[in-house]
């Protein structure tokens, strides 16, 4: 029978199956960070358990890390949490990229960058944006701390098989429209709970045409529509990206791996539990106006009127969101003035994101009332960007150029919004207080964020002139 990619990866990882019980599935790669792991290690110690596969476990420090050139953790509770991870990794024999490591960065940037993330794997992390790794044709999903402990102790998880959901993206992407706009458009259409209980596989010509970094942006936000995971079938783009990375298979092993990975894509005629087809020829750059990622619209649109809501419950949610965001119905999105701009996060802080933003910024100045910052997703991304001169483009324009970390995506480090501040952010969540209590977040692409920093308000980047980059320019 024709199988979906989810079928294949799932069946390949079933350790035990009994009637009336969720499957016991094997986990190939367990990524760990400081915020969701201390209680799991404590549980291991209390029960006298050892980590079953330390060599399949990899840790990073990212959420609490300050983004200053020399990170000094002044918050004593944050420091205790980071020190706990360092001590736990020593005690249990786990490889850690700590704050001093030249390769450190956001866990979902580092995994792919180091070649840890590979097609066909099962990958978990105590972090909902683990869905990012699905871009490689892996089954990757976020788990809670109890499950982190379960994986540490057993290298397995009990899981009910999710439904398969094909989201087919058809049509050619218009100029100025990025992977971020595609996924925001999809979430707007399917709603923030529209993919609950499913693993989304993104297919279609528009997805095939995306680079690996763009596919990661799309898969990253799968969780924002409630999906357990998002995935893209591996192809030549995937294999080229993985090849030569530190933890990727080498030589003949790589050839064998590619042969195995090439069998992963869904068979012709495979039946998904659900299918949606979305065309993107007419998609405009997207901007969120509310307090979850489904409250989103084209930059050419206006803040919606709650009286237009289909249900009373939806009207109430819109009224609450607009009150929190300090927005009046009918206001053109382009007229919304900004205080802050954040280019960063596991969604949009890879090299291509920074190149694109730099093209919108080069030779211009950040608006006087805007404070703008760029936080690369990893130290490798930062150094690569600096080698291309991107840091100078940003700093000459008035951006702050920071070191790697989760930073203002969730404000666990010192980078936060003050109450009432309005921010154009390339991150993934515009929940109330996400970037700082009372802060107002608008989610956009790196291109939109960069242009907004210059203009001081949102602009339609389809009309924004992009500069070439010095020396090694980009082709996108």
């Amino acid at each position: 029978m024709a199988k979906t990619m989810l079928d294949k990866i799932w069946e390949d990882h079933v350790v035990a199956r009994s009637p009336g019980e969720p499957d016991l599935i094997y986990i190939d790669l367990h990524l760990v960070h400081e915020v969701t792991s201390p209680q799991a290690f404590e549980g291991m110690r209390a029960a006298g358990r050892r980590v079953r596969r330390p060599e399949r476990t990899f840790a990073t420090e990212d959420h609490n890390v300050p983004t200053d050139p020399v990170p000094v953790v002044r918050d004593p509770i944050a420091r205790e949490q980071l020190e706990a991870l360092e001590a736990n990794c020593r005690e249990f024999g786990i490889r850690l990229l700590d704050m001093k490591s030249p390769e450190r960065g956001i866990v979902h940037v580092v995994g792919p960058e180091q070649g840890l993330t590979q097609p066909g794997m099962t990958i978990v992390c105590g972090d909902s944006h683990t869905s990012t790794h699905g871009a490689f044709g892996a089954l990757a999903f976020g788990i809670g701390t109890s499950e982190v402990e379960h994986v540490l102790a057993t290298q397995c998880l009990r899981q009910s098989r999710p439904q398969s959901f094909e989201v087919r993206i058809e049509g050619k992407r218009p100029q100025g429209v990025t992977a971020k706009d595609i996924i925001l458009g999809v979430i707007g259409r399917l709603t923030v709970s529209g993919a609950q209980g499913t693993v989304v596989e993104y297919t279609g010509e528009a997805i095939r045409a995306l680079s690996m970094e763009e596919r990661m942006t799309v898969c990253n936000m799968s969780i924002e529509m409630g999906a357990r995971a998002g995935m893209v079938a591996p192809d030549e783009t995937t294999f080229r990206y993985v090849h030569g990375r530190p933890f990727a298979p080498k030589g003949k092993d790589f050839d064998r791996a590619v042969a195995a990975w090439s069998r992963l894509p869904s068979d012709p005629g495979a039946v998904y539990d659900r299918v949606e087809v979305i065309r993107i020829e007419d998609l405009a750059p997207q901007v969120t106006w509310g307090t979850h990622p489904g409250m989103v619209g084209p930059v050419t649109g206006r803040v919606p009127d709650p009286s237009s809501a289909r249900a009373p419950e939806e009207r109430l949610a819109m009224e609450r969101a607009l009150a929190y965001m300090g927005l009046e119905p009918g206001t053109p999105l382009e007229a919304i003035p900004l205080d802050r701009v954040f280019i960063g996060s596991c969604t949009n802080a890879r090299l291509e994101d920074l190149r694109l933003a730099a093209r919108a910024v080069r030779g211009r100045r950040v608006a006087p009332h805007v404070r703008a910052m760029v936080v690369p997703g990893s130290e490798l991304v930062r150094r690569a960007a600096e080698a291309e001169g991107l840091d100078e483009i940003f700093t000459q324009a008035g951006f702050e150029w920071r070191h790697a970390g989760c930073s203002m995506c969730l404000g666990m480090n010192p980078d936060i919004l003050r109450p009432g501040e309005r921010c154009a952010s390339t991150s993934n969540r515009n929940f109330e207080g996400r970037q700082g209590r009372g802060g107002r977040t608008h989610l956009v692409s790196p291109l939109m964020a960069a242009a907004a920093a210059i203009a001081g308000h949102f602009v339609d980047v389809r009309q924004w002139e992009l500069s070439d980059l010095p020396a090694r320019g980009m082709s996108a």
């Binding site: 350790v15 404590e42 060599e55 105590g126 809670g144 409630g226 666990m412 929940f431």
Partner: protein, 201 residues
Amino acid sequence: MTPLTVHRGRVFPLDRADVDTDQIIPKQFLKRIQRTGFGQFLFYDWRFEPDGREREFPLNEPRYREATILLARRNFGCGSSREHAPWALLDYGFRVLVAPSFADIFYNNCFQNGILPVVLPEATLDDLFVRASGPEPLTLEVDLPAQVIRGAGEPIPFEIDEFRKDALIRGLDEIGRTLHASDLIDAYEKTRCQDFLAPVH
């Protein structure tokens, strides 16, 4: 884990859809390295002003303060995977959550902590919200073995996965259960075809 069989308690109606885990417990409280003590931070930004004074929020009303059953709208617990959210709910005193749907990771996390998330149809919840929002607090009895909720008119039946139900009733440690299958895990690792996976250190 404390077993859960029949739970009787007062109901707190939280009439909002898509409540994310950032609201259930804001990020500034995620830096602690213990599992306990998070109840004081539950719904913090909704319950308290930045200076710690109480805000106008239903959970601060005397009739709901002692609640142990939470009514919510669809997609409760969406967003971040933080298990601090169920820890905060449990530490505050909630043992049962009732909603038309829950976000997947949050739903799993509840079972890991002895919290029962019950899924009921929207219409049934509409009725429960009306009953729980009156001047007199509503008390319900949630009978997990019988899979029924009593105390709001006709008993309300609910569905739940047998495996999870059994674990909740017996207060089972899921890790201990999986470790019983160690020989199967050993066997799986031996036969694993993807032996080109390099160790990560």
